[in-house]
Symmetry: C2
Subunit: 324 residues, 2 copies
């Protein structure tokens, strides 16, 4: 049920008086975000955008949560693979699967994207969609990260949680548009981000519907990769799932370039945001080099394209939830 | 923004006092729908379902709008094909395409689903997603149906519009899950049904992202069929887009069987609804025979599965919007 206009007027002053982004330092980044939101929500402004068009999309790995030393989904896949291989070593049919089961990150990375997909494929297949979601949720909330000791679900960025909440309070819908697996992110998105499963867009494998032995209708993940939601795939994934061009897009790597490009090329007010990992002390520092989250072209072109580059060390007062 | 609890209490009596389904006769069908909605929205009942799980899915052709003498999208495709062939007859490379351009419905139907897909494929390709949506919207609101003389958008069932609104007032999200093309339905869904594009699930072709000659980021429909959202495909499509099992499903043909089966096999209160086309006078009468909207197994099994069969002639006081 939508709130009535009269009731909305009563509530607005309460919302406006509090700082919507308390974990953001008082730098230009915070001011730019708030100015944009003000401009599209002011019904008297030329820049006003109706609620149904206030679509904000967020990359996940490196934008909403951390992605070092490797994508969390890959770390999960390796844990699952180790467990499966412990019961039946014959599933390790290739070098990259053997490297994964041995926890050999260099051996995995040497095989590039194809190797990653093979690991995901073997570790995520032949399981019902419901069981997969439950397993992934349990892992994300109990397994701990090798350097921070936090749970993976505890490595969501507090400033981005505040940004999601702020946009929703201002009648945006907030979406995740990730190169990661849609089912993996959905396992935690509602609990962690307040984002329902239908507002998660991601890469996906094949799923089939059949009656199980006892006649129970069942959806099973069959493995394979039917869609890769990365680079040029991100605008395609957005059109598949959302069906409308966003007005706000946030990413952190060149895998998000086309999503920001397409979002900000639309008419009217648009906002592109890049999280720049500059904070080796509190998080990680990386950009143009490496195998994870490479940000090169985006860094070169952000200025001319009018995209905001958020400097994590400068612009964020805290990084993790629960920090003082 | 969600309405506050206090405000909700003020509004509930107003909503509850009006008949939410005025175009439904006072038969058992209407009473069964209202009893179900009451049972899942009463916070004190064991059968209460939280808002985020109140997902209602609707087939489109034959459930929300008419589908005779042929699916509206096929009639649209034929019109587009005629227009294209007028400019360049060499595009008619097969018998079924020639039959379509000649308006020969028997020649089309003789080729079955494969023929339909070929027509859709040729007529819907090599166009930007935005231009396609604008064309389809224009056709749906201006072209007229051969027997009723109504626009196609004017052949939506008034009782189903009321059901959609009623469910949304009761904090359901309402979704279309159609064997028809996702982009075709999205072209009209918000105007016609109050359903935003992201709550439309359907069959889909391939889409690609590229910069056009002048550097404009563009999404283009390339043709081909990447997903068929029918029969076993409907639960798969629901899981892809919604990521959660519905509690309410409505269809009219055996193409909806698995959607109803999967929906109603879940725990807790569930509702399956079949629109039975029994009204040759006001609409069309058909079920077990023919090439469009065949309802055979569903009719046999509805009773034992506890699905409500809506008898259009008996249960609907009016069929079309604007009728007295």
């Amino acid at each position: 049920m939508r709130i009535s206009l009269a009731a909305a007027f009563l509530l607005v002053p309460v919302i406006a008086s509090a700082d919507p982004l308390p974990s953001w330092n008082d730098t230009g980044a915070k001011a730019a975000i708030i100015a944009f939101v003000d401009s599209v929500t002011d019904p008297d402004a030329d820049t006003y955008v109706p609620e149904a068009n206030r679509i904000a999309v967020f990359d996940n790995d490196g934008t909403l949560w951390a992605e070092q030393p490797a994508y969390f989904q890959l770390l999960y896949a390796i844990d699952v693979l180790k467990q499966k291989a412990g019961a039946d070593a014959s599933i390790l049919t290739s070098d990259v699967l053997k490297a994964a089961a041995a926890g050999d990150m260099q051996g995995i990375m040497a095989r590039g994207t194809e190797g990653l997909l093979e690991i995901i494929n073997v570790s995520h297949a032949a399981i019902t969609a419901e069981a997969f979601g439950a397993n992934a949720h349990a892992w994300l909330t109990t397994a701990t990260h090798p350097t921070t000791g936090r749970t993976y679900a505890g490595m969501i960025y507090q400033p981005m949680l505040e940004l999601l909440s702020y946009l929703r309070e201002e009648e945006f819908t907030t979406w995740i548009v990730s190169g990661g697996g849609i089912d993996f992110i959905r396992a935690i998105a509602e609990d962690a981000y307040g984002i329902p499963p239908w507002q998660v867009v991601g890469s996906q494998g094949n799923t089939s519907y059949a009656l199980s032995g006892d006649g129970t209708p069942t959806l099973t993940k069959d493995g394979g990769i039917s869609f890769i939601d990365d680079k040029e795939g991100k605008p395609v994934g957005i059109m598949r799932h959302i069906g409308r061009r966003p007005i706000f897009a946030a990413g952190n790597s060149d895998g998000d370039f086309q999503m920001l490009e397409w979002t900000t090329a639309g008419d009217g007010p648009r906002f592109g945001l890049i999280v720049h990992h500059t904070d080796a002390g509190r998080e990680f520092a990386y950009d143009r080099e490496g195998g994870i989250g490479v940000l090169d072209r985006g860094l070169d072109e952000a200025d001319e394209r009018g995209w905001l580059v958020v400097d994590m060390a400068r612009d964020w007062g805290r990084v993790w939830p629960g920090e003082e």
